[in-house]
């Protein structure tokens, strides 16, 4: 089977789900409508001539103050086709107040823990995920550390005179 052009095929089949096509440094990025990401992944995985059968990577991005609030968060999917040896990046933009996107674990089982990481770090909700729990941070952690408005911070040194003061406000797991 001849390798087919993913852009033409996607625009033909997915139509307005493909919001933007960007080519930069030889890498192809397609911005997809978040509501239709599962359909898009299914399409790229199963269409003959594309067959992006391997999910290399998935991660969240926070465009705080670089994009308007309705495009603050992004989820980036890196797909790879073992058959045609090429990569494709899918990207969805999510609003600040409700960063929700359907899970793609049904299409790519390997997205499971990557989605948990994006939830843990950015607070992005993956609807339908089998077990959306924190993965790297402790279970009782407050806030989402990789958001841009989350302070980088450092641990304040506790002395006997200010021990309780700091203990009350410090953002660490407590017993």
């Amino acid at each position: 089977m001849q390798a087919l052009n993913p852009v033409e095929l996607a625009q033909l089949t997915l139509k307005d789900a493909v919001q933007e096509v960007i080519e930069f440094r030889g890498e192809l990025t397609m911005v997809i409508n978040p509501a239709r990401i599962v359909e898009a992944c299914q399409f790229f995985k199963e269409t003959e001539g594309l067959e992006y059968n391997f999910m290399s990577d998935m991660s969240g991005v926070d465009y705080y103050q670089h994009e308007p609030a309705e495009r603050r968060f992004a989820v980036v999917y890196h797909l790879y086709s073992m058959i045609y040896n090429r990569r494709l990046r899918l990207k969805v933009y999510l609003p600040e107040d409700e960063p929700k996107v359907p899970t793609v674990t049904t299409v790519y089982p390997a997205a499971d823990w990557e989605e948990r990481e994006a939830y843990d770090m950015f607070g992005i909700i993956f609807e339908g995920h089998p077990s959306l729990r924190r993965i790297l941070m402790p279970d009782d952690w407050e806030g989402y550390p990789q958001r841009k408005d989350y302070p980088l911070g450092y641990e304040q040194v506790q002395f006997s005179f200010n021990y309780d003061d700091i203990d009350r406000t410090k953002p660490f797991a407590k017993e």
Binding site: R25, S56, D57, S59, V76, H78, P109, R134, I135, L136
Partner: protein, 422 residues
């Protein structure tokens, strides 16, 4: 709170679990909630988990019914830290992820920066990078072999492996001043040129090392104890390995011929002559054999790289990204300006995003770098093979195996917890 659970046999059993039943549902089978099967914590402090990895095991006798990995004990927020440093400073953070593959991490990050900046790398730097990346692979495989055997009760192999690894670490110290956290690769080339003693030291190592691989193989390959404990254990078919996102030796042992050095070559790997060993059965033994073969292939690549090491510039001449040589600062005002700009503000990269994958000793190490045009990365994400293997392949292979075999399975996927948790 579940402190007591009545067993199916009627008498009461105590469990140490302090969480709620809801937390456990979906993670372990319903039989665990009634006390029919036993829940056991393995780690986070356990000699065979290769770091701080906690596995929640559900056991039916000695059979593992389910395995829930719990990671994050070594999470140090490296990705977040890198966002607050300039592109050049951030390299330091990459060494500290996968501490057995420091040069490989440097390489993945530098390749991403170079791709985003469209920066050239001179021939000599490329050859040295390949050479050191392969030495790092040998270094990592030696630690893997040593600890894997140690888990299985073969103590002596560990000592031999550490002896040979010491020679590689000496070479690293020779070129970068550091044994492990080398930070030697920089965008556009290398930190400095290799020293004169480098070539004889590497030559001495690769003349000496193949005989040592023979020694390891004599100890293990036909050893009936070793075969008993590894053959037919932790089997993965190619389809299963692919859908779980496996890569590197773990995937190739299942029979999938996929090596990024071959299919998407970087740093001129396409010009080197080497084979990609492939496994057949996808069990612990095949993964072991495959990595032993990879050691020999890495030696081949190192020898070729050494032969083509010619004098020349060791970093790019693009002064917008690469600092000028010290000698120029006394003569050229422009050099002083570049030097000052690069060491205070650092360089800025154009707006955009790139993804670069390299073949690390464990599998595909990917670096996603996103820039909004500032002098520091806007977002760096590392697709680390250990993370994928722990969360996907490990629970899969642990299921329906014996508890004692789990130790071998953990060793065979070659995990590094620093790589997993970042």
């Amino acid at each position: 709170m579940v402190t007591k659970a009545s067993a199916h046999s009627g008498h009461e059993q105590y469990t140490d679990w302090q969480g709620t039943v809801e937390e456990l549902k979906g993670l372990v089978s319903d039989r665990a909630l009634t006390g029919e099967t036993m829940l056991l914590n393995m780690g986070p402090q356990h000699p065979s988990t290769h770091g701080v990895l906690r596995l929640l095991l559900e056991l039916d006798g000695e059979t593992v019914v389910s395995c829930v990995p719990d990671v994050g004990f070594l999470h140090t927020g490296i990705e977040k830290t890198m966002e607050s440093k300039t592109y050049e400073q951030a390299i330091v953070c990459t060494d500290r992820m996968d501490y057995l593959n420091p040069m490989g991490n440097n390489l993945a990050y530098c390749l991403a920066v170079e791709k985003l900046a469209d920066l050239d790398v001179p021939e000599r730097a490329q050859v040295v990078r390949v050479l050191l990346a392969e030495l790092t692979r040998i270094n990592s495989h030696l630690v893997w072999l040593g600890t894997h055997c140690l888990d299985m009760g073969a103590m002596s192999v560990f000592l031999y492996c550490m002896r040979e690894r010491e020679m590689i670490l000496d070479i690293f110290e020779m070129v970068s001043g550091q044994r492990m956290m080398s930070t030697y690769f920089r965008p556009g080339g290398l930190w400095r040129d290799v020293v004169a003693e480098f070539v004889p030291a590497v030559q001495a190592f690769i003349d000496y090392f193949p005989k040592k691989i023979d020694d390891y193989e004599t100890l293990l390959v036909e050893n009936p104890l070793w075969i008993d404990r590894t053959q037919g254990i932790g089997v993965m078919t190619p389809e299963e390995a692919l859908s779980l996102g496996c890569s590197g030796p773990t995937l190739r042992a299942s029979g999938v011929n996929w090596d990024i050095r071959k299919v998407m070559p970087y740093m001129g790997y396409e010009t080197y002559d080497f084979d990609v060993p492939i496994g057949e059965h996808g069990d612990v033994y095949d993964r072991f054999l495959l990595r032993m073969k990879e050691l020999r292939q890495s030696v081949r690549i190192v020898q070729q790289a050494l032969n083509r090491l010619k004098p020349g510039p060791f970093r790019s001449n693009n002064r917008k990204y690469v600092p000028p040589p010290r000698a120029e600062l006394g003569r050229s005002m422009e050099a002083v300006i570049h030097h000052f700009k690069l060491w205070t503000e650092g360089f800025s990269l154009p707006k955009g995003e790139v993804y670069v994958g390299i073949e690390s000793p464990r599998g595909e190490l990917g670096c996603y770098l996103s820039s909004v045009g500032e002098n520091h990365p806007h977002r760096v994400h590392f697709r680390t093979p250990s993370f994928v293997h722990i969360m996907g392949a490990l629970p899969f292979m642990a299921k329906q195996g014996l508890l004692a075999d789990l130790v071998g399975v953990i060793g065979s996927v070659d995990i590094v917890l620093g790589d997993c948790d970042r």
